[in-house]
C-alpha cells in the first residue's frame, strides 16, 4: 500500500490515493487504526484518502479517519495537507475545490503555503462583552458558533493579559469549568485562551472539546480567536495566530455588514513517501 506522510502545525497525517477505488471503506478504516499506531506502525494523528469528487465540478473528494477509526468531516491542518498533495501530484490545479463529508472547500496552494476558504461568519450572532468568573478571577469572554449544519462547532474565547505567564496546566481546570456551566452550549465548547500581542499577532491555546485537552494547534480555534479580537478592535487582517504547534494566518474581509469572509493560511510539509509492508498492518 503506497502512502505519503505529511504534517501541518505538528499534526501528522497519512495520505492514500484511492482514486481508483482499490480500497473499500472497511479496509481504509482498518488501515487507519493499524497504520496510525506510533512505534508499531507508521504513526500519525489521522489518515486521509483522496478519491473521486462527490459533487460534479469539484477536483476530488477527501475522507478523514481518526486513529480510532471514526470518520470526521475534516481538520484545518489535514485539509491543507491534502490540498498541497493534490496540487503537487497534479490531481488538482493551484486554485481548487474539493469535497468533504461536511461540504465543499476552496483552497489555494503556493509552495508549501496553503490558503483555505473557511466560509462566512455571521458576526451578529457572536456574544461579545460576556464574563466568566473562576476562583475569584473574572475574565472577559466571547462566545460564537463556527461552521454550519453538522460541521458547526461552538467556541469560547477567553481574553488573557499579554503579561499572563501562568502555565497551561493551570488553565485546564478553568476550561473544564467553562464547559460545564455554559448554558449557551449544552454540548460543551472549545475554549481558546487568547493573548493579543499586537495588531498583527495573537497567541492562542485551544482546549479542544473532543480531545479534552490542549492540542498543538486548532484551525477553527485560531479563527474564533481572530474574529473575537477583530470585533473588539484589537487586531487587523491578516493576523498571525501563534499556536504551540505552529502559526496560522487568518484573513478576514467584511463581505456585507455583520458578514465576515474567513480564510485560514498556513504551512504544510511533506515528510516522506513510501510503501507500507505487511508487518506494519
Amino acid at each position: 500500500m503506497k502512502f505519503a506522510k505529511m504534517q501541518a502545525n505538528g499534526n501528522d497525517f497519512i495520505i492514500i490515493d484511492n482514486r481508483e477505488n482499490i480500497y473499500d471503506y472497511e479496509k481504509i478504516r482498518e488501515t487507519a487504526v493499524k497504520a496510525c499506531r506510533r512505534r508499531l506502525s507508521l504513526g500519525a494523528d489521522g489518515l486521509m484518502t483522496i478519491g473521486k469528487p462527490f459533487i460534479p465540478g469539484s477536483h476530488f473528494g477527501m475522507r478523514f479517519f481518526n486513529r480510532d477509526g471514526s470518520e470526521s468531516a475534516m481538520s484545518g491542518n489535514g485539509a491543507r495537507c491534502i490540498a498541497r498533495y493534490a496540487f503537487q501530484k497534479e490531481i488538482a490545479p493551484r486554485k481548487m475545490r474539493f469535497d468533504t463529508i461536511g461540504g465543499s472547500l476552496d483552497a489555494f496552494v503556493e509552495g508549501p503555503e496553503v490558503t483555505l476558504d473557511m466560509g462566512r461568519v455571521d458576526t451578529s450572532s457572536v456574544l461579545l462583552d460576556e464574563t466568566f468568573s473562576y476562583m475569584g478571577e473574572t475574565f472577559p469572554v466571547n462566545h460564537m458558533e463556527l461552521g454550519h449544519g453538522t460541521a458547526a462547532a461552538p467556541h469560547t474565547v477567553v481574553f488573557l493579559e499579554k503579561s499572563d505567564w501562568r502555565p497551561l496546566e493551570t488553565l485546564a481546570p478553568l476550561a473544564r469549568a467553562l464547559q460545564k456551566v455554559s448554558t449557551r452550549f449544552p454540548d460543551g465548547t472549545n475554549v481558546n485562551f487568547l493573548k493579543v500581542l499586537g495588531h498583527g499577532a495573537l497567541e492562542v491555546y485551544t482546549y479542544e472539546r473532543g480531545v479534552d485537552d490542549f492540542t498543538l494547534s486548532c484551525g477553527s480555534g485560531s479563527i474564533a480567536s481572530a474574529v473575537a479580537a477583530w470585533l473588539n478592535g484589537w487586531c487587523d487582517s491578516p493576523v498571525e495566530v501563534y499556536n504551540p504547534g505552529g502559526t496560522n494566518t487568518i484573513l478576514l474581509e467584511e463581505a456585507a455588514p455583520s458578514l465576515l469572509d474567513v480564510k485560514l493560511q498556513g504551512l504544510t510539509a511533506f515528510i516522506a513517501e513510501g510503501e507500507l509492508l505487511p508487518d506494519g498492518l
Binding site: 504534517q7 505538528g10 506510533r38 512505534r39 504513526g43 510539509a269 515528510i271 516522506a272 509492508l277 508487518d279
Partner: protein, 285 residues
C-alpha cells in the same frame, strides 16, 4: 534538497529508521544531525533511533545506532535484531551473521521475522548475590546479576498490592543505592511467573523509566527465575512491547552459561524523504 531512502523497522515496540551508509555518504556528524531531525515524532518520520549499516573490515557489516537526541549508543538488542534481519533480507549478510558494534562483535541468526542474538555468557558465580532492600517499612528480596549490564530482579511475592507508581518509586530508590550497586542497575519486576512464561517490566537506568521491552532485562529475569526453580529454558518472557525467548543450557553446575535471545524484527515500511525543511541542505557530507 536532500533525498534519502530508508526502511522503518520495529522490534518489541522499539522503532528505528534504518539507513544504508555502506557508500559512506554521511559522516558521523551528519548522521547525528539526521537522527535528531528524522526521529522527531509528528514533525518527521518519528522513531526511537537511527540505525545505520556500514562496511566493516572484520565482520559482515557494522551497526551504528544514534539516539533521537543525536548521541551514539553502544548497542541495543531490539535494534540489533532489526539490522540483522535487514542485512539478511537485503543480501548484505548470510542468515548466520556476525557484525561489529561499538560494544564488540555480535552474532545473530535470522529465521524470517525471528532473530536470535547471541548474548554472550553470564557468570553464574556472580548471580549468588541475593539480598534484601529496605523500602517504606518492608524488606524487598532481590537477585542481582550481570547480563551484559547490571540487572536487579524482583519476584511477584515482593510486589503484592503495589501499583506501577509504587514500583517506579521502588526502582528509583534501588537505582541510586551506590552501596549495594556501585555501577548502578536496571530493575526488573517479574509480575507473573508461570511454568510456561514470565511477565516482566524493566525500569531502564539509561531511560529513567519503564520501557516497552528490554532484551538484557528479559535474559536476566529468565536466569534469576530459573535459579529460583520457577522456569526451565527456553523461557518465554512477555514484555509490554512484545515477547522474547531466552535460551541457555539447563545445567546449574556450569560456572558460565551462554545465553541466546530470540524475538521478532518487523519491516514496517520502505520510505523516501522528499524534503528536509530545516538545515537539510548541509546535512550531507
Amino acid at each position: 534538497m536532500l533525498s534519502l531512502e530508508f526502511t522503518k523497522m520495529q522490534g518489541n515496540g522499539n522503532d528505528f529508521i534504518l539507513v544504508d551508509n555502506r557508500a559512506n555518504r554521511f559522516s558521523s556528524k551528519a548522521l547525528s544531525r539526521l537522527a535528531v531531525e528524522l526521529c522527531h515524532r509528528r514533525r518527521s518520520v518519528g522513531a526511537d533511533g537511527l540505525l545505520v549499516i556500514e562496511k566493516s573490515p572484520e565482520a559482515d557489516f557494522a551497526m551504528r545506532l544514534f539516539n533521537s537526541d543525536g548521541s551514539e549508543a553502544q548497542m541495543c538488542g531490539n535494534g540489533a535484531r532489526c539490522i540483522a534481519r535487514y542485512a539478511c533480507e537485503k543480501g548484505i549478510a548470510p542468515r548466520e551473521t556476525a557484525f561489529s558494534t561499538k560494544a564488540g562483535l555480535v552474532r545473530a541468526k535470522v529465521a524470517q521475522e525471528l532473530v536470535t542474538l547471541d548474548m554472550g555468557t553470564v557468570d553464574l558465580g556472580e548471580v549468588g548475590r541475593k539480598g534484601t532492600f529496605p523500602f517504606e517499612g518492608e524488606e524487598i528480596s532481590y537477585t542481582h546479576l550481570v547480563a551484559g549490564v547490571p540487572h536487579t530482579v524482583i519476584f511477584p511475592q515482593d510486589m503484592r498490592e503495589k501499583t506501577e507508581t509504587d514500583l517506579r518509586r521502588l526502582a528509583q530508590t534501588i537505582q541510586v543505592d551506590g552501596k549495594r550497586f556501585p555501577e548502578g542497575t536496571n530493575v526488573n519486576f517479574v509480575t507473573e511467573a508461570k511454568e510456561e512464561f514470565l511477565r516482566v517490566m524493566t525500569f531502564e537506568r539509561g531511560v529513567g523509566d519503564f520501557t516497552l521491552s528490554c532484551g538484557t532485562g528479559s535474559a536476566a529475569s529468565a536466569i534469576a527465575a530459573w535459579l529460583e526453580g520457577l522456569v526451565k529454558p527456553p523461557v518465554t518472557v512477555i514484555n509490554p512491547g512484545g515477547t522474547n525467548t531466552v535460551d541457555f543450557p539447563d545445567e546449574r553446575s556450569l560456572a558460565m552459561i551462554s545465553v541466546k535471545l530470540t524475538g521478532k524484527a518487523e519491516f514496517v515500511y520502505e520510505g523516501r524523504i522528499l524534503e528536509m525543511e530545516t538545515e537539510g541542505k548541509d546535512i550531507e557530507g
